[in-house]
Structure formats: C-alpha cells, structure tokens
C-alpha cells in the first residue's frame, strides 16, 4: 500500500508534509518551522489554551449541503496528522483586508485583553464560538472558554466580548464553498490509503481505513497508538519522550462512528467527545453534564472515548460511568474481534487487557431501562477543566423501595477505575433507607483505600465517596432538597 503525505490548508494555502519528525507538536510546527508566532505557549500541556488554534473540517455528511465546521484545539498537544484534510486557522488569519474580525473588535471594545499573552487563544475560541452561536448565552460562552486561562482580567470583559460580538458573514464564510471543494479533494484522494510522516528516524502512520489500521497495528506491534493525543503528547512535551512509531486512529472512518440503535449506543473508539456528547446528553443528561466538565472544549474536540479507556488512567472520567452502565468494548487484532466488559479491561495501574497489535474498535453502551436512576458526580477543585478528585457513577433500580439492581463505580479511588463491590452488596436487595445507605457508605471503606496527592487526601476522597452515595440517596428519595452548588446549564 502506497503512503501519502499529510495535506492540509494553512489558512487558504495548501501544504503537503512528509518529512518532519512526527513527534513535533502543532505548536512547535507553527512557531519554530513556520515562524507564525501569534499562537503562544503558556504551558505545553493543554491546560491553559494560549495555543488555541482552529481546525476547519468538512461536515462528515457527504452531500451537496456539506458545511464547514470549526473546532478549537490546543496546538501544544496536537500532532501533525491532525491536520490532514483540514483547514488550519490561526490568529494571524482572522483579519481581512485590513479589518479586524468581529470577535477581535469585540474583544478590544470590551477591554478583554490586559497583558495580551492569552488573548490569541481566547480570540480563536471566540471565533469558533461565533461560528456556532449568533448571540451566545453566558453558559455557551463559559463552555467555549473553559479551556482558556486568563490571569489578568477576571474574565468578565471576555465573557462580555463573547456575548456581544457581531455575527456577520466573514471571509471564511464567503470562501467556504471553495474551501470545502479543496478539502474534499484531499479526502477523496486519501480514501483507503495511509498517510505517513517521517523525519529524524521517527515515523507516524495515519491509516484512512480500518483494514489499514488492523494491518499496521499488527505489522508494527511495538508502535504507540494515538487517537486525539491529548494525553500522549504530554509525554512528548513534559517528559521529552520521542516515539519511534506512532499509529494515529483519528481518521479511520469506521472508528469515528456514533450509532444509536434500539439496544444502545455504539461509539467508535476514535469518536471525539464533541461528536458523541449531543446524542448521549439527549438520552442521559447527567452524563452530558459531566462530559461538559471533562477537560475543556479544546480537549473534547480532540480527545476520544477509546483514548480515555486505553489510557487507563485512574482518574479518567468515562470508565467509571461505562462500568456502571454495563458497557462492553469491541477489540480487534488483525481480523480477530473479541468483546470484553469495560471493567475487565483494567488490570492494574496503567495496565490493560489490550494485546500487542490489538486496538479498541468500538464501545457499546446498552440502553438503561426507563426506571434506572443514573447519578454521575464529578468532584474537583475547580469547576472548569480539572481532573477529578473523585468521580462517582451509580445506576440503580428500585422495586417497592428495595434496591433491585445496583452498579457503582468510582474514579480516583484506586489504581484503576473500579466497581465498589462491597458497597453494592450492602445495597443489593435491601430497603432503600437511611440505615442501608449508612451500611453501604461504611462498606466503601472496605472497597477502597485511596491515595493522597496534590488533588486530594485519601481521607477526603473516601469521605466524599461516602457522601456522594448519600447525595444520590437524598436526590432520589427527597428530590425537593437542593443538593448541589454546581448546577449545569
């Protein structure tokens, strides 16, 4: 199979890339190779948003009504295969014929910049927001800006800039038909191929079909699979690691699908949070609300469900919910496909059941019955873009006030995302009352012996886990009681 170079639009200029170290981040490429220094490095870890750029994509529906979609990403933790078939827009590209973009004007009018270092990142987030909402609400503004840190303004002026920016046709809109044609031409040329990038003895493959992915994964069993790269890139930018061979899953169409059937959701391993949050929220608002706090919009635009699972972090937010929902996963190695319950995937700290050459193809979430109570609680120091101290996921059914079905899993409480077996046992087939809850809360201390770190102490984690169980009890049995200060839009 012949390999092809990465092709993308640098604003409106087509660029082809084949010979560059694939461990280069998009930010390094912009600042050091292209000399485009408007995009800033604030942390090189995807936490501050100073490096926010926008990727323009053609909507996946292949029809005459194809539209451009604009998503923000953190350039510091994005790799170059992310660019393939997309339009890269940076802060330098927003002015047109000497005029500032409406979001730039709005930011100036509202005095939304002080030191100005975070500003280009905010501008790009505002630009992407402006593309989806005419007059964003405060909640929409907060959602769009939750991954951009500003140390000077206190945000009020920036929120006002977001909410008052004029929404009118810009030069991206007026040239979108041409842009779509150009991007589709790249896509058409890539179907079924593998995009390859190599330099300094390192290489990366970005297969464009599941067959190619399966073949490459087996051929290069020592390679690292990378999806959104939001976690893997930290090894490059923080530990200064270099990966010999990377295989990117992000453009494998079969892995990006989100399907809802009568039985449940099937989510492709490389589907980003942004792709599945809307349908998932419609069925499970609690889950959608949690995902809105998972990372930032920039992270959710790159991060994938498969990545969150395969990364096997003890503080990943999706696995506990998937465990409580009884989700399963489909793993593929060559032509072999096997099914596994999510909870059986995690063996030990950062150790999984994934074999060499094997990859996650999709995740299946069976429908919860109408009578199931789903409770998902994320507790962290900060509301926006923070890693959980504790994440609790509970599904529960009651019959005549007796617990007829119960699944409880936690993140942040053990070396892996883990089911609370003793706690479940204390609840199962018991009266749904104070005494049962107290017994179940006590059982949590037998289930877990959490560690202390910079996010929380062991004692706090356990106390909060117990209290979250109590919160669920109060919310289900006394829905009139206000139980949370942090409410969702």
């Amino acid at each position: 199979m012949s390999s092809k170079p990465i092709r993308f639009l640098l604003n409106d200029e087509e660029v082809s890339l084949a010979d560059i170290n694939p461990n280069t981040t998009l930010l390094q490429y912009l600042r050091e190779k292209l000399g485009k220094v408007g995009t800033k490095e604030g942390c090189a870890s995807g936490d501050c948003g100073a490096c926010t750029v926008v990727l323009g994509e053609v909507s996946r529906e292949r029809s005459s009504t194809a539209e451009m979609h604009y998503k923000t990403v953190n350039a510091c933790i994005a790799l170059l295969p992310n660019l393939h078939g997309r339009q890269l827009i940076t802060v330098e590209d927003l002015q047109h014929e000497g005029q500032m973009h409406p979001v730039q004007k709005s930011m100036v009018e509202q005095h939304g910049s002080q030191c100005g270092f975070c500003t280009p990142g905010f501008i790009m987030s505002l630009f992407a927001l402006n593309k989806v909402h005419d007059r964003p609400t405060r909640e929409q503004a907060n959602q769009a800006l939750g991954g951009n840190l500003c140390r000077c303004t206190g945000y009020r002026s920036i929120i006002d800039a977001a909410m008052t920016a004029a929404n009118k046709t810009d030069h991206f809109d007026s040239s979108s038909a041409i842009t779509i044609r150009r991007l589709q031409a790249i896509a058409d040329d890539s179907v079924g191929t593998t995009i390859e990038l190599s330099g300094n003895g390192y290489r990366a493959f970005s297969p464009q079909s599941i067959g190619e992915l399966a073949r490459l994964s087996e051929t290069y069993a020592e390679a690292r699979l990378v999806a959104g790269g939001t976690d893997l890139c930290l090894q490059i930018t923080q530990n200064l690691d270099q990966f010999d061979t990377l295989i990117s899953t992000l453009d494998v169409p079969e892995l990006c699908q989100v399907e809802l059937s009568e039985k449940g959701f099937t989510i492709g391993a490389a589907a980003t949070y942004s792709q599945f949050i809307t349908p998932l929220s419609q069925q499970y608002p609690e889950w959608g609300a949690m995902i809105e706090r998972l990372g930032s919009l920039q992270i959710r635009n790159l991060g994938t469900l498969g990545g969150n699972i395969a990364n096997a972090s003890p503080v990943g937010d999706m696995p506990p919910v998937l465990i409580a929902m009884g989700a399963t996963m489909c793993l593929r190695k060559g032509d072999r496909i096997r099914q596994l319950a999510i909870e059986d995937f995690f063996l030990d700290y950062k150790k999984t059941a994934l074999e060499a050459g094997e990859f996650i193809q999709s995740i299946f979430i069976p429908n919860a019955s109408d009578t199931t109570h789903l409770k998902i609680y994320k507790v962290s120091k900060r509301f926006d873009d923070d890693i959980s101290a504790v994440l609790a996921a509970i599904t529960l059914q009651l019959k005549d006030n007796v617990v007829s079905a119960i699944d409880i899993a936690f993140g942040g409480m053990a070396a892996i995302p883990k089911r609370a077996v003793k706690c479940e046992a204390a609840l199962r087939n018991q009266q749904w009352d104070d005494a049962t809850i107290e017994r179940a809360a006590a059982a949590l201390s037998e289930d877990f012996n959490p560690l202390s770190d910079a996010r929380a102490s062991s004692q706090y984690r356990l106390q909060v886990a117990q209290n979250l169980l109590r919160r669920a009890y109060i919310e289900i049995s006394s829905p009139e009681v206000v139980t949370q200060v942090i409410t969702h839009a």
Binding site: D47, D384, T483
Partner: protein, 788 residues
C-alpha cells in the same frame, strides 16, 4: 534636517481621544487580538542564536559530592555548559541582601535549585541535555515548614515588632478575650508568559538584554555585576510582559544573568525560556504564612487590645521578604483601629524556593488575620460580622492613628462601607440567606462584606522615585519613555494619556516605546502599585518642561502674553491665531528650541523609622470594599461564588475601564489565592504542583454571574497625585477576602452562627468539608455534654 516633513495642519484638530479621565483602550489592544504583539519568545531567531536550559537539584538540602556534566556536554546540539565556576563576577544576585546564588556549587538549599546551565542549538535539545547530569549528594535534614524553622531558629532576617501602648494589659482588662490561629497558603503567579530573557553580546564586551522583567535597572545592574563589567555596557530593553504580578520584580533577573553569561561565553545571542514546570520549580511564590492572634474586646466587639504574630515562609533567602513581612505587619490593622497593639513579624528560612513579591506584597496575609478575628469576635458575641467591622473602622478625627503611628487622613472607609451595604442590599440578603439556610440541610449560603485599606508607596523610601524622557519630532509626533514597565496593567496608555493631556493632543499622537535603561536610567521596579503614580508624574514633569519652552517661544515669537496662549484639542491658540500642534513644533524647531526633555518625580512626605517602628510609610491609602455571596455543599465542600458587589476608590480615575479591569482581575486573582489555588510539596520538599494540570487558577466559570463593580464617584485623591488619581494595581486583590469570610459564614450557619469555623486557606472543597465536619463534631459533642 534640511527639509521638514509635510504635516497635516488640520490633523486631529477638534476631537481628541484618550483625555485623562476617559476610558481608552490598552495601548496594545489591537495587537493583542491580532497576535501581532511581540513577546520575547516571538522575536525571530538570528543566525547562530542559542537556547538555554537550567540544570536543577533533585534534593532539598545536602552537599554536592560530585557533579558530572560530561554527558550533558556531549549531548546533541550542546554548545556550552556553565556552572558557578564560569561566572566572572558576582555569583550572588540577591536583590537586597545576599543569599540568591545563580548556581549552587557546594550546598543544595532547595529542591529544584539551579546548578548549571546549558546552551544548545534548540530549546528542546537544551532541555534534553540538562537531564543527563550525574549528581551525587550527601543529603542533610531539610527545614520544610514555618514550624520547623521556628524550632531550629532558622530565619532569613531578624524579626520586627510594631507596638502601641500595652496590648497585654488591654487584652487582659477587656470584657472578652479570644485567640485564634490561621495557616495561609502561598500562591503561584502563573503569569501566562513564563520567565524569559534574551541576551546579545555587543562589540564592546557588553550585553543587550531583552527581559520579561518588572525591574530593568536591576537586571542591568545584576547582569553587569555577574559579568564584572560597568553598568554602562549593559542595556536592558523591555517592551511588554505577558503578566508579572510581582513574580518578575526580582526573580526575572537570574534568567537574564544566565542568558548573558552563556552569551558571554559563546559570543552568540542566547535565549533562556523556562518551561512552565521549571518556572514553577525555580521561582518563588507568594509567601505562605502561619499566624496567630490574641484579642481583647468589649461587649459591642470594640477592640481594646490585640497581639498578632505573623511568620512568613520566606524560603531559602531574604529576597524581598523583609519588606514583605513588614507589609503584612503594616496591614495587620486593615481598616480598623486596633487600640493597644503589638504586631510581630518573623521571617522564617526554609529549604524551599525563595518566596517573593506577589500583588499585595504581604498585605493580603496581614489583612486576612484581622478579618478572621472580626468574624470570630462577631460569632462570639452573636452579632453580624458587619456590625463588628463597622464599629472598629478607623474614624476621621479620633481613633485614626495606625499601630505604626501614621495618621489615617482623608478617610472615606465609613462612607464606602455604608454605600456598599446599601447598594448591595446586604441586610435583606443576609435575612434571605439565613432563611434559606434554615430550610436547606445540604447546601448552605454565606455572605460577607469586607473592607480594604491599602498603603500606597514603597516602604523602602528611595524606591519612590521615577524618571521619564520625552521627544517631540518635527511632525508633531511624541515619543514617550519612562521607567515603568508594561505587564498588562495599562500603565503605558495611562502615561500616554497624561502626556497627551499636557499638550492637549490626541493620545494616538504619543507613542510609548519599550522601557530601556539607556533612555531612563536608575529606575525603580514597576511594583507596589506605584507605576502610574510615579512614572505618570515624571512624564508630566518632562512634558511640562517642553511645554514651558514652547509657550515661552510662542509668546516671544508672536509677541503675545503667556496667558493668552492655550493648547487645545490638537491646536495651539496664540492670541488671535491658531496653529496645529505640529505647526508650532516645526516653528519651534526652525527657531532652535529643544524639543526633548527628561522628567523626574519623587514621592513626598514618606518616611519610616524601623528603630521606633513608626513613621509615615504611605503617601496615602487606597480603599474599597466588597460583598461576596457564596454557596457551599456540605457533602463535598464544593463551593461557588454567586454574587459579588464592589465599591472601590481609585480617586479621580485616569481611565475608568482600565481601572475596572484591574479591580475585577485583582479580585478574581485574590479569590483564586483563597479558594482553588493550592500549592503542595511532598515530604522531600519537592513541589508537586508544577503546572496548570494540578495548580488551578480561576477559570471562566469561577467568575460570579453577578459581578457589580463600581468606582467610588466624586472622590479625587486629596493628596497631589497625578490628576488626583489613586493607585489600583494591588488593593483590589484583597477585596477577595470577602469570599473567604463568606465561606466561613456559610459554614458557621450550620451552628446557627454560634461557632466561628477554622478555615485555613486556600479554602479548597477539601478544607471547606473539613470545616463542616469539625463544626458538626463540635455540635455533636456539645449536645452530648448537655444532658450532664
């Protein structure tokens, strides 16, 4: 020049943007939003330029047995490796007192201390190379806390005491006594642009340095001393910083020195940019404090006597800690008359990175103690804390002298508090909150109004001076330079407005250029909120000098009285005729009038005698007050600030929108300090929070939905400051103490406001939950005791 340029004689006439007192955008706002504002890392690399990285220790305290850098030297791309042995001049770059070694060579004194530096062909290769050092240590016991420092009598400077009367007897004789203690966390600056410097050797053996520093003159001095060359061979240029907040007052200089040393050794330009992790490991933070107080008060809550002891965790060296702990002591009264008072401040030395200036400079920590005491007194007497606060406020004619014997003049604290109490509807909301709390077992609300009185001036007298330089060119455009640095606070636009005002021209006529030591020498740091106060005055002085020359010239040339010449909206009215500003400038040039001048300013009235702990350290006070309303979740400790009302005194504002930005930004930064921003170290003294993944500054959703911020109207500064404005950089940060106090109020509601909860800072969800648990335990215990 032989031929003057063409000028538009009508240009700008009639309308004038950026008048003093009017809002005008930041000088770089357009460039910020277009990504065209240039920060040091954005400067194009020149041929041969090198990139530097710092090698660090991995223990907190010990002897270096061997330092093997052979692999570092051999690493890909490495051009030079330097240690303390390669420094021709000073190794110690302590800004006030010795103690800050550029590189440690024998004894390691904190985890992450700089040991050597590398210059390589790229930033990445330099960072990779420093990891290859092989270091053997003999570890020594480390002092990692204030408590351990006290036990070991480990201090960076002697303690200082401020005293009035006999506090001990006054406390004993008072109707009531209380005591309390509070641990106050530090704070990482988290400027979005990390520390960075660029040094380029000159043909004279000197150095041109571009630094992200609040103190160009000190960078110049230290680079010269490290290289052992005269100061006049070093030029420091600072166009802008991507945030400073005090973190680049002294602690930007070492990186400029290292870049200069590497440039000196390689004869190549060298850029040193600290990665975020290195920045957080290598540079100091806001001082954590351990504090305690004893207070005596009457039935109404009026303080009769108080003893406050504050102990700053200074880290390993004095840096600015003497002045910082002093400022904590100067603000131990905040807005209150303390009567008989003894304030003691300790400067504890620990094996941690040397803590440094941070917006408020010790003031916030000092204020937090007395605000905590106000709440404690109120709970004890079963009163609304606001009642106790109002009772103790400084008064106008009596009870108006601080514990360091400065009279509080032009005091408007009472008016501010009363106005805000009304505009925020405090009493009604207090009632509604109590009602809410009665009916809600899980979520509790809290509210608090706290004032701020912050002293303006450097407490080190000689720093209260500033210089400026103005040129007018023959097209009428004005070039402005002054000693202040722009870190986002809007200093440049404010000073441009001041200069434009003197000549009555459009603010766009004035170009503010980068701060350079070869234009304005011997400057003070842009710090202590003084930037506009002193540099604005110096620039005004320079403008007035030139203006006087122009007036005298016009008077002579046109033969009119001085009194009938007026600069007005881009024109100069001279008797019957009107010239554009540029026309007059050209005419003056042709008649050989100097169109360039320096300006100078020194702040009057200030002095402080450390021997007697008395004086007039502050030119004036900047005041304000805030009401914060919060909600807490008693199951998890999660909390949210739902509404904030602020009334703040900036005197006659030079630029209201810029001032509002400082107030809002300062408040949110203070809120972060007191809530989510938690620094943590492991038992070996290694910092665990080395990046934004673990260190959480406020994000957009933390900004309260209702955020009413107002400038106190019609209250020009009665001291002769620049256009009677007041400094605004630091004071608003301390308005956020209202958030902490409101959180305590919410926790106290569980005890029906009878118990004042202990709540160390930052009040993370974990600390709030602990406070809730403790108060519930106390209630349980007291119930258990009752039947007996």
């Amino acid at each position: 020049m032989r031929k003057l340029g063409d000028i538009d004689t009508k240009k700008n006439v009639g309308q004038r943007r950026g008048k003093v007192g009017q809002s005008h955008k930041h000088d770089s706002a357009d460039k910020h939003v277009c990504g065209s504002a240039v920060y040091i890392d954005d400067r194009p690399n020149v041929v041969g330029q090198l990139h530097a990285a710092i090698g660090k220790s991995t223990i907190a305290h010990g002897k270096i047995l061997s330092l093997d850098l052979s692999e570092v030297t051999r690493a890909a791309g490495v051009v030079a490796v330097i240690t303390a042995d390669d420094i021709p001049g000073h190794v110690d770059v302590g800004p006030v007192f010795p103690g800050d070694l550029l590189f440690a060579s024998e004894i390691i004194e904190f985890n992450g201390q700089a040991l050597f530096a590398v210059a390589a062909s790229s930033h990445e290769l330099a960072c990779r190379a420093v990891k290859l050092a092989k270091i053997e240590y003999q570890e020594l016991p480390a002092i990692l806390s204030v408590e351990q420092a006290h036990e070991a009598k480990s201090y960076v400077r002697p303690r200082h005491t401020q005293k009035r009367g006999d506090s001990s007897s006054a406390i004993a004789d008072a109707a009531h006594q209380l005591a309390g203690s509070l641990s106050i966390g530090g704070q990482e600056h988290f400027y979005l642009e990390g520390q960075i410097s660029y040094a380029e050797p000159t043909e004279d053996g000197g150095m041109v340095v571009h630094a992200s520093s609040q103190h160009p003159s000190e960078v110049q001095k230290l680079v010269a001393e490290v290289l052992s060359i005269p100061f006049n061979l070093v030029t420091v240029d600072i166009r802008r910083m991507g945030g400073g907040f005090g973190g680049k007052e002294t602690q930007a200089a070492p990186w400029a020195c290292v870049a200069a040393l590497l440039a000196h050794h390689t004869r190549k330009p060298v850029k040193l940019r600290l990665s975020r992790t290195d920045d957080m490991l290598l540079t100091g933070k806001r001082h954590p404090f351990e504090t305690n107080y004893k207070v005596g008060f009457d039935e109404d809550g009026l303080i009769k006597g108080i003893e406050i002891e504050v102990s700053g965790n200074c880290g390993i060296s004095p840096d600015l800690s003497d002045a910082i702990v002093d400022r904590a002591m100067f603000h131990a009264d905040n807005a209150y008359y303390l009567d008989q008072a003894t304030i003691t401040g300790h400067r504890c030395k620990t094996n941690t990175v040397s803590n440094t200036a941070f917006r408020g400079f010790g003031g916030p920590q000092g204020m937090l103690v007395i605000e905590g005491a106000m709440d404690d007194i109120a709970r004890y007497l079963n009163k609304d804390p606001l009642t106790v606060r109002k009772l103790n406020l400084y008064q106008k004619q009596q009870r108006n002298i601080t514990h360091y014997h400065q009279t509080v003049e032009h005091n408007n604290l009472q008016e501010i508090v009363e106005k805000l109490e009304l505009s925020s509807d405090y009493l009604e909301r207090r009632r509604q909150i109590s009602e809410f709390n009665k009916h809600n077992p899980i979520v509790k609300k809290g509210i608090a109004l706290t004032p701020v009185k912050f002293g303006i001036s450097f407490t080190v007298q000689h720093l209260n001076q500033a210089g400026a330089l103005i040129h007018i060119y023959t097209d009428g455009s004005i070039h402005l330079n002054h000693g202040g640095t722009e870190m986002g606070q809007g200093l440049f636009v404010k000073v441009a407005q001041i200069v434009a005002q003197e000549f009555s021209v459009d603010v766009q006529t004035v170009n503010v250029s980068s701060t350079r030591t070869d234009k304005v020498p011997n400057t003070s740091p842009t710090a202590a909120s003084s930037g506009t106060d002193i540099n604005g005055k110096a620039a005004q002085n320079a403008a007035q000098t030139i203006k006087a020359r122009l007036l005298n010239f016009a008077s002579e040339h046109f033969n009119v009285e001085l009194a009938s010449i007026e600069f007005l909206n881009g024109q100069v009215l001279i008797g019957e005729q009107a010239l554009s500003f540029a026309e007059l400038v050209q005419l003056a040039y042709m008649n050989r009038v100097s169109l360039s001048s320096t300006g100078f300013y020194k702040t009057p009235k200030i002095h402080y005698d450390r021997e007697t702990a008395s004086g007039h350290p502050f030119f004036y006070f900047a005041n304000g007050a805030a009401v914060s309303e919060v909600m807490i979740d008693t199951l998890t400790g999660e909390n949210k600030v739902s509404r904030v009302d602020i009334l703040h005194d900036v005197g006659a504002s030079l630029n209201p929108d810029i001032d509002l930005g400082q107030i809002e930004g300062g408040f949110i930064q203070g809120m972060g300090w007191l809530t989510t921003e938690e620094l943590s170290w492991d038992s070996a003294g290694r910092m665990q929070t080395t990046g934004p993944a673990t260190y959480k500054i406020p994000a957009v959703s933390d900004t309260p939905e209702i955020f009413n911020v107002a400038l106190l109207p019609d209250e020009p500064n009665r001291e002769p400051t620049i256009y009677h404005s007041k400094a605004v950089g630091e004071p608003p940060l301390m308005l956020a103490i209202s958030v902490w106090s409101a959180l305590r109020d919410a926790v106290a509601s569980i005890s029906d406001y009878k118990i004042s909860p202990k709540l160390n800072t930052p009040a993370t969800p974990e600390r709030v939950l602990n406070a809730v648990s403790q108060i519930k335990l106390r209630i349980e215990n007291s119930k258990a005791e009752e039947p007996l």
